[in-house]
């Protein structure tokens, strides 16, 4: 995600079309006139099949579109009219009937409970907000419908902490990105997370593109980006030895950073939990009860929860959650992106984040993707950007990989053969293509952090600060809010023996031999680390969760060897039978039961261990 791709599958008609037709808030007499104009515009494109109306300050679109791309185009068109939001209820082919549903069986573990703040959604935004709020003496509940935090968009991105250059000047994205970029580095230090700032090279394909440098610098200045530089062709070649010969210099953005997005989310959630927040995994919000313009309770699969303030950080479901509170003033559309991870051996092949936008148009919605260094070192190729229905549709498609190969040529040392795996993520986008970070205009105790698409990860700490302030203000209406005594900014990151020197590693193992048993050979992950993840204050109990925390199964064999061992550790620690261990929570069980002969005796049984190890101690 070198530059933020906005829309790629659907080209915008022309750049003048991008300009808003109204930029200030729409007044009532204006509204009907503007809707009339929008209606005419829609009719010219879609005939009578699409209709626009004003619904409590937002534009509402209804009808049928010939394709999902057309539906999205209609939404973008409506967004230019300056209403509060665009509620796009157009139906399009290929849209599945998606419901916000719990994964597992219901229970009553949350029933009757009360929290000053309930945060809906355990992605990086929800986790960062929870952590920020623990600075105050509020009781906090973080609700996550999956079996782990960071299960969706927060683990399905490239981990880039953007510099803020690509965001549209004046947008919330631009402001939050630049602020977030500054906040992440000290935050990572507090949380014991890796953060690197390799910087980003926006390569020029042509001399004409290079001539745009002054305009790019002006944009960077306007966005408040922390530094930029013109690099000559020779300098790029010297600093990035494997770079394509087909470059004419670069726009260098030194503040671009990388981190592990899922580890960051876990660390934020763990730190929040350490400071007293309750993280409820597998807890899905099904509805809300309102009284006099306020939410009184959340209905979940784990019972009814009363809440003082509710934060909507529900990612790709944020419009649905807003609707539960009667505050559906926006719709999300889904822009899928696919990334490919290359083998760790690529770690030495590249020093900076590389991208080469196909046509360097500063106001284009069509930007690029590229080659991102992960914080672990592997190069990550991507992402693509395709408007695609499906809030949780992560199925990759062959043509997406074809698109990724285009980026590979930027680094001559890389090849598709180094690919370990590829994955998709879905960006939750509003039609305004900007974040929504605000207190609800209709519901007194609801705060939205919605439409947090790229650069949402980069922006997360800044968004969290502002949302926390809004929550504290809202909570101030019903109780006095004081700073929490004994708040701890830090988190003792679990040990990673592979990163220790030999003496320190030896000492660690002396304290706990499990750190000496390597379970995942590709990534050198020990039993001790896996057990730490399972026993975490925010426990990882499925294989994907353990993979995100420890990297077990993330390497070149992709779990071929360690899967059974990790299953056994989960079974041992949780008491589940091994076949009931899941990949990603209920419904993703790895096995269906025992074989005819039944499961083997547990590891550690002397007879089981000795039978083929002749002579071995």
């Amino acid at each position: 995600m070198l530059v933020i791709p906005r829309k790629q599958a659907v080209e915008s008609p022309s750049s003048s079309d991008e300009e808003p037709i109204r930029s200030e808030a729409v007044s009532r007499p204006d509204a009907s006139r503007l809707v009339g104009r929008l209606g005419a515009s829609l009719r010219s494109r879609f005939g009578d099949s699409v209709e626009a109306s004003v619904d409590r300050g937002s534009i509402r679109l209804e009808g049928e579109a010939p394709s999902y791309d057309d539906k999205v185009s209609a939404g973008w068109l409506a967004a230019r009219y300056g209403f509060k939001g665009v509620v796009n209820d157009i139906r399009a082919p290929g849209e599945a009937d998606e419901r916000l549903e719990p994964r597992g069986a219901a229970d009553s573990s949350l029933d009757g409970s009360y929290y000053d703040v309930a945060i809906v959604g355990g992605g990086v935004i929800g986790a960062a907000i929870a952590r920020e709020l623990t600075r105050w003496d509020l009781s906090i509940l973080l609700l996550e419908k999956e079996s782990d935090v960071a299960a969706h968009t927060s683990s399905r991105n490239d981990g880039m902490i953007h510099d803020g250059f690509a965001a549209k000047p004046g947008s919330k994205k631009a402001a939050y990105n630049v602020r977030g970029n500054r906040l992440w580095e000290p935050l990572c230090r507090e949380l014991g997370l890796d953060f690197k700032r390799p910087g980003s090279l926006v390569l020029f394909r042509t001399a004409a593109a290079a001539a745009l440098y002054p305009a790019m610098a002006a944009r960077a200045r306007r966005n408040g980006v922390d530094g930029w530089e013109f690099w000559s062709r020779a300098r790029v070649a010297a600093e990035e030895p494997n770079v394509t010969a087909d470059q004419r210099g670069a726009f260098f953005l030194p503040s671009a950073g990388v981190l592990s997005p899922y580890r960051a989310t876990v660390a934020l959630a763990e730190n929040a939990a350490m400071n007293g927040a309750r993280v409820a995994l597998g807890a899905c919000v099904l509805g809300m009860e309102l009284d006099g313009g306020s939410i009184t309770a959340l209905r979940t699969n784990k019972g009814s929860v009363r809440a003082g303030v509710v934060v909507n950080a529900a990612g790709n479901w944020a419009d649905v959650v807003a609707g539960m509170a009667g505050d559906r003033f926006f719709s999300l559309h889904q822009r899928r992106g696919t990334d490919m991870i290359l083998d760790a051996e690529t770690a030495s092949a590249q020093r900076h984040i590389l991208g080469m936008p196909r046509l360097l148009q500063l106001h284009s919605k069509t930007k690029g993707g590229g080659l991102v260094l992960t914080v672990e070192g592997n190069v990550l190729v991507g992402p693509t950007a395709t408007e695609s229905p499906g809030r949780e549709d992560y199925a990759t498609k062959p043509e997406e990989l074809d698109r990724l190969t285009r980026h590979l040529r930027l680094n001559t040392a890389l090849s598709m053969a180094q690919g370990i795996t590829y994955f998709s993520g879905v960006r939750p986008c509003t039609y305004e293509e900007d974040f929504i970070v605000e207190r609800s205009e209709r519901v007194t105790n609801l705060v939205h952090a919605a439409g947090i698409q790229s650069p949402g990860l980069a922006s997360a700490p800044a968004i969290a600060q502002d949302v926390a302030a809004m929550v504290v203000e809202a909570a101030g209406r019903f109780r006095r809010v004081a700073p929490r005594a004994g708040w701890r900014a830090g988190r003792a990151a679990p040990p990673e023996p592979r990163r220790l020197g030999i003496e320190a590693r030896d000492a660690l193992i002396a304290g706990n031999p499990a750190y000496g048993r390597v379970v995942c050979r590709c990534e050198e992950v020990s039993e001790g680390e896996i057990v730490d993840a399972i026993r975490s204050i925010v426990p990882a109990t499925d294989l994907d969760a353990i993979k995100r925390r420890t990297r077990a199964g993330m390497g070149r064999c992709h779990g071929g060897f360690c899967t059974p061992r990790v299953m056994e550790l989960v079974a041992r620690e949780t008491g589940l039978p091994a076949w009931a261990v899941t990949k990603k929570g209920p419904g993703s069980e790895l096995c269906v039961g025992p074989t005819k002969a039944g499961p083997r005796r547990s590891r550690g049984d002397a007879a089981a261990r000795g039978d083929a190890s002749g002579g071995a101690s």
Binding site: R103, D393, Y394, A395, T396, P398, L401, G419, I420, T421, Y422, F423, S424, P497, R498, I502, E503, R505, D506, I509, P513, G516, R517, V518, R521, E524, S526, R556, C557, H558, G560, T563, P564, M567, W579, T582, K583, K584, G585, G587, S588, E589, L590, C591, V592, G593, P594, T595, K596, P599, R600, R609, G610, D611, A612, S613, G614, G615, A616, S617
Partner: protein, 450 residues
């Protein structure tokens, strides 16, 4: 205090290659330390409960664990001890010669020094994404070896209704195994126009159970977000691209992949050992000595074998050679190699060894029969001639050093030629490659020529 151990030969991996290497090195008088990351020796054989092992080596059909037990018994009777659940975290070459390995086990971190190193690290399986199966990443997609481990070692049933992608031997064996466990195996799909597995496995594992094998067909996508709900299959063209319009959706909860094995050589790479791009294993001479002095390699780390017997054979050779190297000591004239390339000529997919040490061949005291392992690059159903020709250029018309005739050759079935050392006199010993060398040429025999 960090533990420090010193020995003559360190063997990495205690599968059939590593144990054979360890035993032969011990029999040659060397002190040996075996480092094994699992809790038991035997390597992948532990999970191979089917028979078919040992026909060449022991003249009888053994199961994998039985075969492994023979290795373990021999190893034990020689007084060998494997360091189990031990893992090498890094390897380095010492200035003064020899190697130092940083290792960990439950007892802590330790350093292991040796004069020679034998890499018997085996191979890993290619995964779904490496053969471009698309879709989400639900539970229910397993490599064949993983499914085999679950069923045979853990006693867990991975699903109810399976599709197999690829026709590698483990996949075929798993088709039978899953059927015997009561699973429904819908069929196996192979993108190549010919099966990848051994003929005996095609008969005994698919035909005998009525499991269909679709050739020139593949799985293009997996359906389901949490557990596999089905797959899409398609026919493929000559370039193995799916042919539009031939897609078929199948309902299943399990996809088992048997789409190839990749030698594990991360440690070899870190030591600067040059690899052969065709085998993806180290280039070795006839003594399984890599191009880095003192580093030997054997078994599936060198090239993917289809018989454990050949894996053991290469281990024996690597172990005795490593022992000889270690015991000779620095500066010994017997350590001086004169390497000449042995290349895969037309019709030959690859040949191991890729190098001949002419010095060893010329030394009557050390010269031993040379085992050449090769695969033909295409099916030669009506017969074939493998000819070792002097000269390194492809299609070299050099003198024929030896020749073997075959009734048929198929790429999945590795062949082995045991050549007397004297037959490989490929000219005067040259100091190093490139030299005139030799190449193995494989030519089909047309039916009328037979």
């Amino acid at each position: 205090m960090i533990r420090r151990l010193e020995t003559d030969v360190v063997v990495l991996g205690a599968g059939p290659a590593g144990l054979a290497a360890a035993c032969s090195a011990m029999e040659a008088g060397a002190r040996v330390v075996v480092v094994e990351r699992e809790e038991r020796t035997g390597g992948i054989l532990k999970q191979c409960i089917h028979d078919g092992f040992g026909l060449l080596r022991y003249g009888r059909q053994l199961s994998g664990p039985e075969y492994a037990l023979r290795d373990a018994d021999r190893f034990g009777s020689l007084g060998g001890r494997a360091m189990l659940e031990a893992f090498v975290t890094s390897a380095s070459r010492l200035e003064a010669g020899g190697f130092e390995l940083a290792c960990v086990d439950r007892g802590g971190a330790f350093l292991l020094r040796s004069a020679a190193l034998v890499l018997a690290t085996g191979c890993r399986e290619r995964t779904d994404r490496q053969v471009f199966v698309h879709g989400d990443r639900p539970a229910g997609v397993f490599t064949a070896g993983l499914a085999q481990y679950m069923i045979n070692v853990q006693g867990l049933l991975p699903g109810r209704r399976a599709v197999i992608l690829g026709s590698g031997d483990i996949g075929l064996i798993m088709a039978r195994r899953m059927t015997l466990e009561g699973m429904e195996v819908i069929g196996a799909y192979e993108a190549k126009p010919e099966p990848s597995g051994l003929s005996r496995n095609l008969r005994q594992c698919l035909d005998d159970y009525g499991i269909p094998l679709a050739l020139s067909s593949t799985v293009t996508a997996v359906h389901g977000g949490r557990r596999v709900e089905g797959v899409t299959t398609a026919r493929v063209d000559g370039a193995m691209r799916p042919i539009p319009g031939t897609e078929r959706d199948l309902s299943c909860d399990t996809l088992v992949l048997s789409v190839g094995l990749i030698p594990e050589n991360e440690l070899a790479k870190s030591l600067g050992v040059p690899l052969d791009p065709r085998t993806r294993g180290p280039r070795v001479d006839q003594n399984m000595h890599t191009l880095v002095d003192g580093v030997f390699a054997c078994g599936n780390a060198v090239h993917v074998n289809d018989l454990a017997d050949y894996v053991s054979e290469s281990g024996e050779r690597a172990g005795s050679s490593a022992a000889a190297y270690a015991l000779a000591g620095p500066g010994s004239p017997s350590r001086v190699r004169r390497l000449s390339p042995l290349s895969a000529g037309p019709g030959c997919l690859y040949v191991v060894p890729q190098l001949l040490d002419l010095a060893a061949l010329a030394d009557v005291a050390r010269a031993d029969d040379v085992c050449l392992y090769f695969r033909s690059s295409s099916t030669m159903a009506s017969g074939a001639v493998a000819r070792l020709a002097a000269g390194d250029a492809p299609g070299a018309g050099g003198a024929t050093l030896l020749e073997r005739r075959y009734r048929a050759l198929r790429p999945p079935e590795m062949e082995r030629i045991k050549a007397p050392a004297g037959s490989l006199a490929v000219g005067p010993a040259r100091p190093a490659e490139p030299g005139p060398g030799a190449s193995l040429i494989v030519e089909p025999i047309e039916p009328e020529d037979r």
